[in-house]
Homo-oligomer: 390 residues x 2
């Protein structure tokens, strides 16, 4: 169950010819009646945003945070494609709006794939009308849509979170920044909660901060990253801010976890927890520095309990740090206390480090700041996935 | 010719038993007569500095920038070793000073190797007296010293730069941040220029900024990085500031280049040049972001001309950026102009990307800021070198 589980939504997925060989490459999420509903989105912070990011951002401003549909294409990012790329992205909105019966500004678009290659309009021109015509409620249509978003993903990513009086559904593709040439992170969420565009936006911001923005594999930030949510209001009762943020956050966290599981070349996930930092901001920075360290990630691939690298990364994270107070643990077992090695059960550590999920904890011993990052190990698979685009 | 080429210096290198199997692990650079001369050093910015870094930094403050010798040990970093580690580092100074006939504060120390493992004092206690006794002028002693600094290095790194009226010699180990578990970057430089401690420090700072600090392979910053220079003054004529900085800079750049050549797992060097940035600072930041991008580095390993990743990294570097103005070139051949693909000689690009040195240029088209970074490609060798420490 996914984006069509909350009441009021339909979906579709199909192949239109952007990818060769009839591989699905075009997805739709729309309101059942084609009418716009409150919508919010978070886009990449990259200063070279792809054409669909520029168009969707502008559309949400124009409509004051309302949308009737999201069209996603995969196989070509429509990024670094200049003015012609903008025309294609706008054309996608026009086509979908025409067949859905809404205004063009009420359609959001997202694309994922290679950067710098013109996205041909022909496949979209014939594909989008068929895509809209095939939209349907139910799990099968949702699954087709989620599948059509995939690039290097090896598994479909869907989620459903039941709130107190509403639900949140979602589908996503990509592996955050795992293999960004083909791996923009896209997520489309739905809810039947009754919520204003402003409250929806606030809930999404909080949810993304604690999920997708805490997932990092190689520190790269795509030109196309997009997370969008539409709220049908069908559940009636007004959603409280906190409840909605929690439910959307749980949906995003589930999708982020699925992305880490599916990271190309990765053999295990690593949950980096920093505590005892001087501030929450310091904790976030330190956790990110450790999580994005190629050396720490290589250690995790080799199941090597070499905590010296962790201390070295913490020391160069640019945060308040006292080497004599740091404590490092794997799987809850201390390997370093007071900045120096401490006796530990090496067998238990070795077993933990060979598992699918490694818990790496660093306590800075200064104050109460805590943060968490989800990353993966770095193995030869990452290189073979990323050394060539074709 | 290396650290003993400038007049007034002797060197030594030997095995003392820190490393198993009689592999050289102890090096000395000293003034010929054991008297202190002007000295300067640049240390790691890591907030968990190793014991020898703490001791050497304090010694230079105590002496007001004078030193008679540098003792380098390899095989154990003496980092994250607490108070006992500090005692060992101080003991190294005491021993060398006693046998050289200088004050203990006039000896600087540096160590490289694994973090978090106590450095035993016994091998040093018997080794340092023998090391001092074997010191000698000439190329053979310099070579032995350079060899004893090595860890994962596959080649000895030495340099000699002739200034207008003086010379600068140097030896180094490591690969900057290439394989930091064993690969602290250490460099010991000498000059016979007659210069004050303050001028020497200024010359070294400028030289390091444009060489070692512009070399980055994985963005990691060691607990032990140390660059030190001693000036015997034997060349007589007072060195002008600029001439000395240039000569020291050339020596550092040569050693940095040798480190990149020797980077484990790397198959080629990549020189990243950013021009047209709004400021010099922006140019440095953008060049570093591209050079440290695992994705760009993977592309370089695969000889893949995928410039989209370069634009994406520039866009997320946090600098002033207009995607419609960016130009990207490999080997001087434009592949992207005005932010979009441009026609180019694909054969010529392919040939360039298969070479040992790739020239990657990005012009931001905004103003006059320029900067350069030296990095390597990222291949499976990096992972096999770094996945396990033992």
């Amino acid at each position: 169950m996914s984006v069509t589980a909350p009441a009021g939504f339909v979906a579709a997925g199909m192949a239109c010819g952007i990818k060769p060989g009839g591989v699905p490459d075009l997805a739709l999420l729309a309101t059942e009646d084609g009418h716009p509903v409150p919508a919010a989105a978070v886009f990449t912070a990259n200063r070279a945003p792809a054409a669909p990011v520029q168009v969707s951002r502008a559309n949400l401003v124009t409509t004051g945070g309302r949308a009737a549909a999201v069209v996603v294409s995969s196989g070509n990012a429509n990024a670094a494609t200049g003015r012609p790329g903008l025309q294609v992205a706008k054309g996608m909105c026009d086509l979908a709006a025409g067949h859905l019966g809404c205004a063009r500004d009420e359609v959001l678009v997202a694309s994922t794939g290679l950067i710098g290659i013109p996205l041909p309009f022909e496949p979209l021109q014939t594909g989008i009308p068929r895509l809209v015509a095939s939209r349907a409620p139910g799990a099968k249509a949702a699954r087709a849509a989620a599948q059509a978003m995939m690039t290097t993903d090896t598994a479909i990513k869907q989620t459903l979170v039941e709130g107190p009086s509403f639900s949140v559904g979602g589908m996503a593709k990509g592996a955050a920044m795992l293999a960004p040439d083909l791996a923009t992170m896209l997520a489309v969420l739905t809810t039947d909660a009754d919520v204003s565009p402003a409250d929806l936006h606030e809930a999404l911001l909080g949810a993304v901060r604690d999920s997708f923005n805490s997932l990092s594999v190689d520190g790269c930030c795509s030109t196309n990253d997009t997370v969008v949510i539409l709220a049908s209001g069908r559940a009636g009762a007004a959603a409280t801010g906190l409840g909605l943020m929690q439910a959307v956050g749980a949906a995003c966290a589930d999708l982020a976890e699925q992305m880490a599981v599916d990271a190309e070349g990765a053999t295990r996930r690593v949950r980096v927890r920093v505590s005892g930092a001087a501030t929450t901001d310091d904790a976030h920075r330190a956790a990110r520095k450790v999580a994005e360290s190629a050396l720490v990630q290589c250690s995790m691939y080799g199941s090597d309990p070499y905590w010296g690298r962790v201390v070295s990364e913490l020391g160069s994270a640019g945060v308040a740090f006292d080497p004599d107070r740091v404590r490092v643990a794997y799987g809850g077992i201390d390997v370093c206390r007071g900045g120096v090695a401490c006796a530990h059960d090496t067998e238990a550590i070795a077993t933990h480090l060979r598992g699918m999920v490694v818990e790496l904890t660093a306590d800075l011993g200064l104050a109460e700041g805590t943060a968490e990052m989800l990353t993966t190990d770095l193995g030869p698979g990452y290189i073979s996935e990323n050394m060539r685009t074709s």
